[in-house]
Amino acid sequence: MSIRLSALGLPAFALALVGGVLTVQLAYGGGSFEPLRSADPCTTREVASRSDGIEGLTERLVLIGVDEAACSLGVTREALILELGQPGARSDAQVEALRDGLSTAVRRMDEEGTLPLASELVDEALDSADLNRFLEIAIRAIPDSVVDAALKTDDVLLRTIADLDLRALLANLDDQADLNAQLEEAVTQAVLDSLADRLRDLV
């Protein structure tokens, strides 16, 4: 009996050791220590930005727009972003998906009431633009209520997106985050152009 027990002692001890180690590891998430899985881009994602003004607005637009584009292309947001960051020509489907995605982002933000008023964007646009001095003074003199009555942010943004040469813009991306910077520049210019047009109409 004691010989039999002695023969079983080491195997039993080994079974307990291996079982214990594997159980503890599995209990603490062993086997699931893997890179973060990309979320489904077709599920509405809350987007936030630490930036203010036009920079914050364009960041939110890009984040929602890329999600929408990825959803329509059937890829993850991250895969699309990484692909756009690579050099090379963009397909028609990618360009159109991104344009539609950005437009959808504008409409979604408008519905949510998260689009800023046009007057909130004017000062920042003027600060970063190299405008004729008289034109700049004239625009700054327009009361906010008049600016907001004359310009609807969603209209300006939708026109900007429609006019954007997205293929050229995407071809010049140094990396994925440049999309933000280039779109920001386009939005700033669009706000100024729209205001200058209205001003000329008034004159």
Partner: protein
């Protein structure tokens, strides 16, 4: 001097067998210093084991026709010279050639030292000391290599071997009486040698892949990795007292050892995080298994078999061919898995950067740095810290950036850990196969 002869020979045995995996932690440094490819640098490891595995038996046969002390001294001198050549190698091709020569000298030294140690200490003590020195050398090799690489350089691994081997040459020549080798009477012990080969292949996963995961995957220093993997030899030392306490049969001991190695490798395949402490328990299982199996199997393969040197040659051959088979199976698996891990890792990084609580400008700066780093480090794990340093963020943004950097590092560690999973599981399967060779019923002889 007389009393130092046998210990010096035992040290030589440990050195030669340590060389099997001693360069594992130095491979990244060698790759960089000698401007080699990953494939070339793997041959620094493979060449030694392959030559040692293939030459061991012919080397043992050579001892039939030569004075063992002379041939041993020649082997040890060749090993010392080749070690010095490894240290001064200026190209990867030269280093690989030197490693082949080192293995050739090592094979002669190993077989010769067995004969000389038996002459010095007697059959029982001599064989036991030879087996123990070999197991210790195998287990301690990666640790010693890592510490030397971190403290001095990869060349130091080879330099430190030279004086010991040089001292062992006169020690070998000083052995007075070497009994004549008896004629070949016994066939090689197939089963213990097969188990040894399979276990050596499995242990490649523990000794080679784990250090790669620690250094290349988790970005730990060679010294930190060396200290971490020291759990294996320490646990191996605890195996003998454990066996004495439980008093199992030799077959049970070996079977349990195989099971523990399989369990430890399975544990390494399911690590819950990249914290070093999580590797301790699985490594302890592997170490216990190593301590229960390797010396016992070597003794079984050699026990009462003559000529002793021939059977020693078979065990050395089985072990090192096993290592090469392990490398041949595991290397393509983990390199392909590392390649496959890049895409999910990049997507995880992109996701975290996009959603990071940083300003858009800072996200752009960080993304640019990360893009550059990923491009420069193609095929290797990138150093994300440089990308954050290059971003030159405002002090108010640094806490959020530091949190993002930690999260990104975790993603890389998770991707690397996932990439090694299949290889560790294959290692565990090899250990279970070894267990099968132990418990499989043998052929019954007719009464």
């Amino acid at each position: 001097m007389r009393r130092a002869v046998a210990p010096l020979l035992a040290v030589t045995v440990a050195l030669v067998l340590a060389d099997s995996a001693v360069v594992t932690l130095a491979l990244p440094d060698i790759l960089q210093h000698l401007d080699a490819t990953v494939g070339q640098v793997a041959w620094v490891l493979i060449s030694f084991n392959l030559v040692l595995g293939l030459i061991a038996v012919p080397a043992a046969v050579a001892f039939d026709r030569a004075q063992p002390r002379i041939l041993s001294a020649v082997g040890i001198a060749l090993f010392a010279g080749a070690s010095a050549w490894c240290a001064v190698a200026g190209s990867i091709d030269v280093l690989i050639a030197a490693r082949c020569l080192q293995a050739l000298g090592g094979a002669l030294a190993l077989v010769g030292c067995l004969e000389l140690m038996v002459a010095e200490w007697g059959e029982r003590r001599g064989v036991a000391a030879w087996v123990t020195a070999g197991v210790l050398g195998t287990a301690v090799g990666p640790v010693a290599g890592g510490l030397l690489t971190q403290a001095i350089s990869w060349q130091a691994i080879f330099v430190v071997q030279v004086p010991f081997a040089v001292l062992a040459v006169p020690a070998a020549l000083a052995v007075r009486v070497v009994p004549a080798l008896p004629p070949d009477r016994h066939r090689p012990a197939v089963r213990p040698n097969l188990t040894l080969a399979l276990l050596s292949a499995a242990l490649t996963a523990a000794l080679f892949l784990l250090v790669l995961l620690l250094v290349e995957g988790w970005g730990r220093s060679p010294a930190a990795a060396a200290l971490t993997v020291s759990v294996v030899p320490l646990a191996a030392l605890a195996a003998r007292p454990l066996a004495r306490l439980m008093r199992p049969s030799p077959e049970t001991e070996v079977a349990v050892g195989c099971f523990l190695i399989a369990g430890g490798l399975a544990g390494l395949a399911i690590l819950p995080s990249a914290h070093l402490l999580w590797t301790v328990a699985p490594q302890a299982l592997v170490g216990l298994g190593l301590g229960l199996t390797m010396d016992r199997l070597t003794a079984q393969a050699m026990e009462l078999r003559l000529p002793r040197a021939h059977h020693a040659g078979w065990t050395i051959g089985a072990r090192h061919v096993g290592v090469v088979v392990g490398l041949a199976i595991l290397t393509p698996v983990f390199t392909a898995d590392l390649q496959d891990a890049q895409e999910p890792a990049q997507e995880a990084i992109a996701s975290l950067v996009l959603d990071a609580p940083l300003t858009a400008q800072d996200k752009i700066a960080v993304a640019r740095g990360l893009g550059d780093e990923l491009t420069q480090q193609q095929g290797r794990i990138p150093d994300l810290h440089r990308a954050f340093e290059a971003a030159e963020l405002a002090p108010s943004e640094r806490p959020a950036a530091a949190a993002l950097e930690r999260d990104l590092d975790t993603q890389l560690e998770a991707a690397a850990t996932r990439a090694f999973r299949d290889s560790f599981l294959i290692g565990a399967a090899l250990a279970l196969l070894a267990l099968l060779t132990v418990v499989w019923p043998g052929r019954r002889r007719a009464a």
